[in-house]
Amino acid sequence: MSEAIIRMKDVRKTYRLGKVDIHALDGVTLEIQSGCFTSIAGASGAGKSTMLHILGCLDHATSGEVHVNGRNLSEMGDSELTAFRKRNIGFVFQFFNLIPTLTARENVLMPAMFDREKKAEKADELLKMVGMSHRTEHHPNEMSGGERQRVAIARALINDPPMILADEPTGNLDSQTGKEIIDLFRTLSGEGKTIVLVTHEKDVARFADRIITVKDGKVLDG
């Protein structure tokens, strides 16, 4: 069995809403193996997004330990987390989050725009891999939703991170296109990338190797 790329131990996240404490995560402990295609499923408000934020180094846990790719996230400061995110995590969003003024190739290159190393060739390879080589010079408004999500996946891969976090990546797509995107994730998983997909759709979650169900801030099964 491969090594765990994500390790969460008794992770709690509490938000203060007025005088009431909201326990978004309530003692979550889990491990996700490297190269595994995992989906985190649950109803709205179950704590999926909070878990994604913490795994994606976008937010700190209130207590507990989170290790990603061997690093303890709670020991890292803001700028260190940013740099860590860049090297280790690729994000895929529900609304694609492409920049409308940039072409497909430029959107893919966006995370590396300050890098000395020029990655134009790599961007073209990634676009080819996601089946978008015919759209490199097109802007997002000239593409369908599925095409946009493919470009977004290529963008997530530009810095060659070991892990992809996808937040409801099919939520804005029809079922057929959604299936194609899931297939793309499967392919990436086959190539060794760890995929963590957050969804509230059971039909989508079932395509993963492993399903973690979250309810009321707790991991129910998986």
């Binding site: 976008l58 940013t82 989050n97 920049i99 940039l102 430029e106 725009m113 134009a120 010079e137």
Partner: protein, 438 residues
């Protein structure tokens, strides 16, 4: 095509400016107008200041000239034979030099002779004063202002080499030599007060005629050597010339004590029976007048600086509002985009760079457009300015590289300052903004 594949922060900033082209255009237009006026006001202010500084320099020069003081030693009775002789002049000169050196200035003594020019009018016993002056000293110490009155001169001053030359006052000319002009030769008859003997000097060239003035109308001047040699002001016994006056010139009279100098001259040179007059009070008055004028000009310069500062502040506020507003709107509209940038690992410092970069591009375009307009406006104002008539504006403009440099620096500085707050807003956005479902 390889060039189309290049993408970096510059391209991203450029696209963002282009994205809201109408808003960018409005902002650029506003800032361009501000910069054009900034250049115009700065060049007008520079022109005004140049004028003021020129006037201050003029006044300072005049002040220095006015500080130069004259003291005249004269005998009490011009008809006595108690004139100054050569050794007295030498002693006085040495004393003055030493005294002035002690007081951080320079000075010297030089002779003046006085003879009389007989009136040519029938039955007239009038006599005109005929000064013998050293042409070189006369020029150096501006002999024309000797009695504290500046008069204009038609023709030329006595030539440095001296000779048979004369400067004529208005009455002397009208009474004795009507119709004579500059360059003409005249014959003159002098009356010497030593022996009462007369001398006739032929073919004396009129080098200049003094414009009518109260003091100089009855006045004529010749080179001292020529006058002394030809009118009997010579002591055969001692083999010395006699001088009626000794003039003392001091470079900066404000540094000396007139009374002390006069007393010293009397003691050292043994001239105790001579009367010594000076123009101390006049010097003090004129120094005060020039100093007042300089102070007023300095005050005016400060006022111009104050106005320029007010204009800079006003224009800066407009720029700050324009840039801040544009950038804040841009940042607010792009919360999700900025969140995405942060989520994919773009650091806070880079976000600052991107927002400040956009403001920089806006101000750079504005500088080009506003710069060209401002330079054209300044040139137009300058072309319309007439030093005599004044033109459509009260001052010439002066568009120096310094003016342009500080307009560029202030504009960029203000724009960057204005973009700091929006940049801070952008940098503190949470990356989770990218994940919001709105």
């Amino acid at each position: 095509m390889a060039s189309a594949k290049r993408f970096g922060a510059f391209s991203y900033v450029g696209r963002n400016v282009k994205r809201r082209s109408l808003r960018s255009a409005i902002t650029v237009t506003g800032i361009s107008v501000v910069i054009a006026f900034f250049i115009l006001f700065a060049s007008i202010s520079q022109g005004l200041k140049d004028d003021i500084m020129e006037e201050i320099e003029r006044q300072k020069e005049a002040l220095l000239e006015q500080r130069a003081g004259f003291i005249t030693l004269m005998i009490l009775d011009p008809f006595s034979s108690n004139l100054f002789n050569g050794s007295e002049l030498e002693q006085t000169d040495q004393y003055v030099k030493d005294y002035c050196a002690e007081h951080n200035t320079t000075g010297e003594a030089y002779p003046l002779a006085v003879n009389f020019l007989k009136s040519e009018e029938p039955d007239s016993d009038d006599m005109f004063l005929l000064f013998g002056i050293d042409p070189e000293k006369g020029v150096k110490y501006d002999f024309i202002t000797f009695n504290n009155e500046t008069v204009s001169l038609e023709g030329a001053y006595l030539s440095p080499t001296g000779g048979a030359e004369i400067l004529l006052g208005n009455n002397v000319l009208q009474s004795n030599y009507p119709g004579v002009g500059v360059g003409d030769k005249i014959d003159i008859e002098t009356v010497s007060y030593i022996a009462g003997a007369s001398a006739i000097l032929d073919n004396v060239t009129v080098t200049g005629i003094l414009a009518p003035s109260i003091i100089y109308d009855n006045f004529a001047a010749m080179p001292i050597e020529y006058l002394l040699e030809n009118t009997g002001l010579y002591d055969n016994a001692t083999n010395e010339y006699f001088y009626m006056f000794i003039s003392i010139w001091v470079e900066d009279a404000s540094l000396i004590d007139f009374a002390e100098l006069k007393a010293g001259i009397k003691d050292i040179a043994g001239l105790t029976d001579r009367d010594i007059s000076d123009n101390e009070n006049y010097i003090k008055r004129t120094i005060l007048a020039h100093e007042t004028e300089i102070a007023e000009q300095e005050e005016m310069r400060r006022t111009v600086d104050g106005w320029l500062l007010a204009v800079i502040v006003l224009l800066s506020i407009i720029t700050v509002v324009g840039i801040s507003n544009t950038m804040l709107m841009s940042v607010t509209e792009r919360r999700r985009e900025i969140g995405t940038l942060k989520a994919v690992g773009i650091s806070k410092a880079r976000i600052y760079q991107l927002v400040l970069g956009e403001a920089f591009v806006l101000v750079l375009i504005s500088l080009i457009i506003g710069g060209i307009t401002g330079v054209a406006l300044a040139e137009y104002f300058d072309s319309q300015y007439d030093a005599e008539a004044g033109g459509i504006f009260f001052a010439p403009t002066n568009l120096t590289p310094f003016v342009l440099t500080y307009v560029v620096c202030i504009s960029i500085g203000v724009a960057m300052l204005a973009a700091l707050y929006p940049a801070w807003q952008a940098a503190r956005l949470e990356p989770t903004e990218a994940l919001r479902y709105e």
